[in-house]
Symmetry: C2
Subunit: 397 residues, 2 copies
Amino acid sequence: MNRYEQRQQWLQAEMIQRGWSGFLVTQNVDIYYYTGSMQTGYLFIPAEGEPLYLVRRSLERAEDEAHAAVEPLGSMKTLKERLAARYPGLLEAGAAAGGLRLATELDVLPVQQFQRLQAALPGAAWEDGSLLVREQRMIKSPDEVAAIRQAASVVDASLEAVIPQIREGMAEFELMALIEHQLRLRGHQGLMRMRAYNSELITGMVAAGASAAVPTYFDGPAGGTGLHPSSPQSSGRALLQRGEPILVDIGCCIDGYLIDQTRTLVIGGLDPELQRAYEVTEQVLRATEARLQPGTISEHLYLLALDQVQEAGLSAHFMGYGADQVKFLGHGIGLEIDELPVLAKGFKYPLAPGMVIAIEPKFTFPGRGVVGIEDTYLITETGYEKLTISREGVIVI
Amino acid sequence: MNRYEQRQQWLQAEMIQRGWSGFLVTQNVDIYYYTGSMQTGYLFIPAEGEPLYLVRRSLERAEDEAHAAVEPLGSMKTLKERLAARYPGLLEAGAAAGGLRLATELDVLPVQQFQRLQAALPGAAWEDGSLLVREQRMIKSPDEVAAIRQAASVVDASLEAVIPQIREGMAEFELMALIEHQLRLRGHQGLMRMRAYNSELITGMVAAGASAAVPTYFDGPAGGTGLHPSSPQSSGRALLQRGEPILVDIGCCIDGYLIDQTRTLVIGGLDPELQRAYEVTEQVLRATEARLQPGTISEHLYLLALDQVQEAGLSAHFMGYGADQVKFLGHGIGLEIDELPVLAKGFKYPLAPGMVIAIEPKFTFPGRGVVGIEDTYLITETGYEKLTISREGVIVI
């Protein structure tokens, strides 16, 4: 059984437990996860039986790529009769059980498209299957980890290629352009997918000094002015200055999978207060690593970090400043940047082998900059493997 | 009155006509359009009175940027009482009129978030305001046109900077990396926003020869293998060959606004059949330009192109090939790539001053490549102004 069939069957077992008759997968990333193909259409996974990938375009590519039966999508008006023909008894069994219970991803599916599905399948009761999919995707298979490992190596090589080119007076966006060019030459697919509504990321957060500490709408600890209010995050037009922390929080996408890594760079050296704050972020990372093993509850890692930071007297600066602090230490990562588990209060997932988590302790100093580190880890049977490979410590240029 | 207030007031007049009490704007791009700020939260525009921008983060930046009153978003549980406090009589008037009618963007808003709004404002009847917003955004103001004009100049300068670097044997993705680098150095914000669910674009469609003719899920005439099935569009690993058409369909984002332009390049020269097909695309563009004036119905331009293409004996190759043909000639463009009006059957918008439309006649030859041209036009009082400025004709290297 290949990995796609394994994923489909895991979902089917969960659906049977919940009394769901099927899952209509609508999101491009989820369709890719279950089929290996990302063509436009819908993937129907029945609780029992073979999945059906209804494709608008490109049918030809879906047929080449997908680990599922492929048919042209056709008109939505015929969806019901086609499912009925393909799955004899499905609609009747649903009716007998008091209604056909179908799941879909209500966290990403727009209302208009959902209403079209409701009209196409009258009588179906719709369940929100998004948490189930996100929880399934939390545990990575070896092929997924291999792609993430490759992405980590691309990020490291790109960073090292750029470091010798960094100069005082270079604009933040010029540094970002250099980084992106190196990433793309090494196979970065150019996307950093996020699941949450309105969330966007352009390669990462690269900013220096005061402008890195400018808060953003982005749900992360680092900010950045961006080039304009219409993309108010990450690199702007500020020029790199000697002695200020240059935050290089970047990722890349290889075979669909993302990595997330942060390093703090400086031309010359950091002042003692920022240097000490940076060292505390490494200490927080070390202490987190010591608990990074199956069974640890995800929120505990965040609470542990809060304690350490308080002891260091840096609570006001942790993960942003003031009203713009974010309330997490790390996040799952895979096909999307904002995956489960989140290392934050209220997230009680026990860590488990196969989880991949980016951990990113950072301190924000308004007017001065952001310092910190971020590595991405695989949870193993006995502990963890660090997937990011870049050298640690403040990188002095 | 500044442009944001003008936009808000236009929407208010339309809401009064429809009997809507207010519009809860949820999408980042739409919030930017009405306020000049893109921080996280909701913008409430009442049918009468001052808009209120409820911001999660960054409040500080929203206060700096937004042309609207700003308040912290706070808990969704208090949304109703806060609106009631800010707009005395709003909820009562709605109830008296048989229910509070509120609009939001059902084309992009995910179901889960919509359900949260429904719970926060019980008793409200929700209208789909997305078409209204898209129709409003169809007519650009002078500042929007200025940004698009600037984007056109960045695309031209970047293309010209890259042309001398193009070599036989260079991989498609290397060419794309060069283009992106030039665009970013000139201020491209790195995003190509699309409104439709699951739609993504990575700078554009840059591909050559047979691989450009590989169909994609992307709703456009050009294809491309992409680097992997997890991003199955645009540049792949194919190497540029002498004599094959190199399709450079690119855009960039300046001050939030996009441009779209295609040029056909070739190392050496095209074979006569492809050269002739390219010339037909220029003829289609010229014939389209001749009708590009206020009052022309958008679908007529597509039908006119179909006639011309049929006369040229190239119908099977127009805008894709076979089952993967797309059924349009062009599209509105602005903050998003997929704006109104669409030049396609069923779109009966009369052209009007201020519309900005990308027109992209192309022919696909399976196994050989894609040829075509795309320019972006502003509709003026008397006709059109071409915003893209790159040289026409097949660009021979």
